[in-house]
Symmetry: C2
Subunit: 434 residues, 2 copies
């Protein structure tokens, strides 16, 4: 192996294990060593029991490969239930909480041979109040949230992949801040059973990886659909819509430059680039906020009514806001969202993907705030698949993300197009050392 | 006046009052007399205080006309809150329940001059367990539900119009069974604030009238948009899709014949008639059921947890079913609904309206069951506007409904097209005596 074992992608590792060139124990040990060396700084893990991980690795090494992730470790965001590890939802209310069964996504990963490495840090109930995780590129900066630990662990080469969830921007934003590939699939593409619900109409399970191939393999496992290698879908001269959004001028200079540079490089590589405007896009942001707040207030009613003092002031405020959203406001917002889904499907009739910022800029300084999901929330509302990939660095050395949006339920094609875009926009082919 | 006063439409009555030819007191008195003569048989009213109605009528007679419904009485379904009358939601849990304020729709009707006549019978929480109301055409038959009293009161000439709500088929079905015009508008077209929520993503406020003009005036008042007379929208040779639905063969012979006869008459009148099939329509029915059950279980959680013994066995069963619907099932159903909305918008690109049954047949015998909403639930899920108008009688003398569906948020045009269809399909021009 030319690289340290913990730097292998999930697919590389699974292949080496399948060929007998590597054992799961050696791989997991290398990852555990990386974690041990870095956890004090990065703080990605809410729960990690090395013995439990090695036990699973040994079981893999003593049985024939059952699936495409045989022996490969994964980090699981701590709002996803695991039967043999605590699930605390980022809240002291659930300290040491144990659930009877694994979430459906955990079951599918285990059936594909994955080793559940541990539980990664989430913000409080996957909302805004941050946990202990730092940005692996600079510990003074936020890793983003709510899937903070998953993004940081993958970026810091502690595990090849991890699961997160997005209700506003909780996959794309931390992936962008930490410099990995974040993938929020189409609505309801992956099963959410056994994941703490914030908003039934918005919550989406997603992945953090360092390669597109990994994202595609994991997606096939989680969605329960046959694997299609991204390179097997021919992408030639994609029709790319450059969508600056109404918040373009709020984005930092470096982010705007990165997006424009990517567009220019892609045009040189043969893509057609077309500026897109979407009337009423601001209304979709407000619709997302109202629906999300109202649904969060409903979903966390038990905790609000019985453990209010254990909720952060910020979350209490969000729940209070949600409880005050009237029936007409919610229904009006749902109506706007339905219009928006119709509108975006018309835009994708003449565009393969949209190119747009992942975040306002690189990860902001400070750990008290996980950053603004302004460039994410509308896409979550619309249910369209989103991918962010690293597209250069800020002057401070922090990653900048490029976001690619595709039509709903065309996730494999979006993945292939994003891979083509990355390979044709001058960035490094894959992510290695941080 | 050529007809008894209680037979006037809302618009006719309001015009006569505005011209000084009629007082609200005389009109309301005529309606009260009709109710008094019929209530023992029809049982449309949950709450009626003649003195309170007459007091409002006198106030109207002593003030200048403020709106298009000045002095005209209306029946309000008893899941809609009224500050000066009890609101019991069809449940003993809320016997004599008083709310502090009027629902927004009641405020708008009052601002337009309407006299709130009383509260009409609803099934238990607008779900399935029926109230006391009978079908005005035959007391041994159900009036349909859940807006049973509103449909029966308007059909029985007790009030010119009434409000109802539809989550599955609770406006169109009772309107069809009772032989009046039922209108379920586009999703979120009328404000639902102050109406007991069953399902935020489905609940829709609707109307019962005896004329299209009344429906259009009331719609403008409730939606807060300028009034457009249905006859002012020119309808020539509408493109009508005849949609039999997957349940055509479950519909009775008389209903199928009525729809086919209407299609033939409309073709002779110059409409283009085109058979429509919608792949996957059955899946939309199942999606509606899962979403509705799950949302009902959430909405009635307080009543279920604190007053379970006071809920009907049937409602308890529905709530138990709803609580057992998993996250993936709901999300999968929402995904199917989103696809369906896209699909139906494509169908309306080449059709002005769809012609389809309102119900399986005429009102079934017996009062224990309000009938099957099979021909209604998918449209409610899709959020498209629906109108039913009387299209003949069964051999037993019961009304048969013709349902017309339009594209979302084109309600005025649907209303005008439905009026054209009724006038050109050989039925009587307007509904008079039962």
């Amino acid at each position: 192996m030319e690289h340290p074992l913990n730097e292998l992608s999930a697919v590389e590792a699974a292949r080496a294990i399948a060929r007998g060139e590597l054992t799961s124990r050696r791989l997991v040990t290398a990852c555990l060593e990386r974690i041990e060396a870095r956890e004090e700084i990065v703080g990605a893990w809410q729960f990690l029991d090395p013995a439990l991980a090695l036990e699973q690795a040994d079981r893999c090494d003593n049985s024939p490969a059952m699936g495409p992730l045989h022996g490969v470790p994964v980090g699981i965001k701590d709002i996803i239930q695991t039967a043999d590890m605590p699930t605390c939802y980022g809240s002291s209310i659930y300290a040491n909480n144990r659930t009877a069964v694994n979430a459906e996504c955990v079951k599918r990963l285990r059936a594909a041979g994955a080793v559940i490495m541990g539980k990664t840090v989430t913000t409080e109930f996957a909302v805004f109040a941050p946990g202990k995780t730092t940005n692996p590129h600079n510990r003074l900066h936020t890793p983003g949230g709510s899937s903070s630990g998953s993004a940081a662990a993958v970026a810091d080469l502690q595990v090849p992949f991890a699961l997160g969830t997005q209700t506003a921007g909780s996959v794309i934003r931390p992936a962008s801040f930490c410099g990995v590939i974040g993938y929020k699939p189409s609505y309801a593409w992956f099963p959410l059973d056994g994941v703490k619900v914030l908003s039934l109409t918005l919550d989406t399970l997603g992945t953090f990886t360092r390669t597109f191939e990994d994202a595609a393999v994991i997606a096939s496992v989680l969605a329960g659909i046959p694997y299609q290698h991204p390179a097997s879908i021919a992408i030639r001269a994609p029709r790319i819509g450059l969508f600056r959004t109404p918040w373009w001028n709020e984005a930092g200079n470096e982010t705007r430059t990165a997006i424009e540079a990517a567009a220019e490089a892609l045009a040189r590589a043969g893509a057609s680039i077309n500026e897109v405007t979407i009337p009423g896009f601001e209304d979709l942001r407000d619709a997302h906020l109202k629906i999300m707040y109202r649904e969060i207030a409903d979903s966390l009613r038990y905790e609000y009514e019985n453990h209010r003092a254990s909720l952060s002031a910020r979350l209490q405020g969000i729940i209070d806001t949600g409880r005050a959203v009237g029936v007409s406001e919610v229904q009006g917002s749902i109506r706007i969202a339905r219009r928006g889904r119709h509108q975006i499907s018309e835009i994708f009739a003449s565009h393969d993907v949209l190119l747009t910022p992942s975040t306002l800029g690189p990860a902001p300084l400070g750990l008290g705030n996980t950053g603004d999901p302004i460039f994410n929330r509308v896409w979550t509302l619309l249910g369209v698949p989103c991918i962010t990939y690293p597209g250069g660095r800020s002057s401070g050395g922090l990653p900048l993300g490029i976001q690619v949006i595709g039509p709903v339920e065309s996730d494999e094609r979006l993945m292939a197009t994003a891979k083509w875009m990355r390979e044709n926009s001058g960035g490094p082919a894959e992510i290695r050392r941080s």
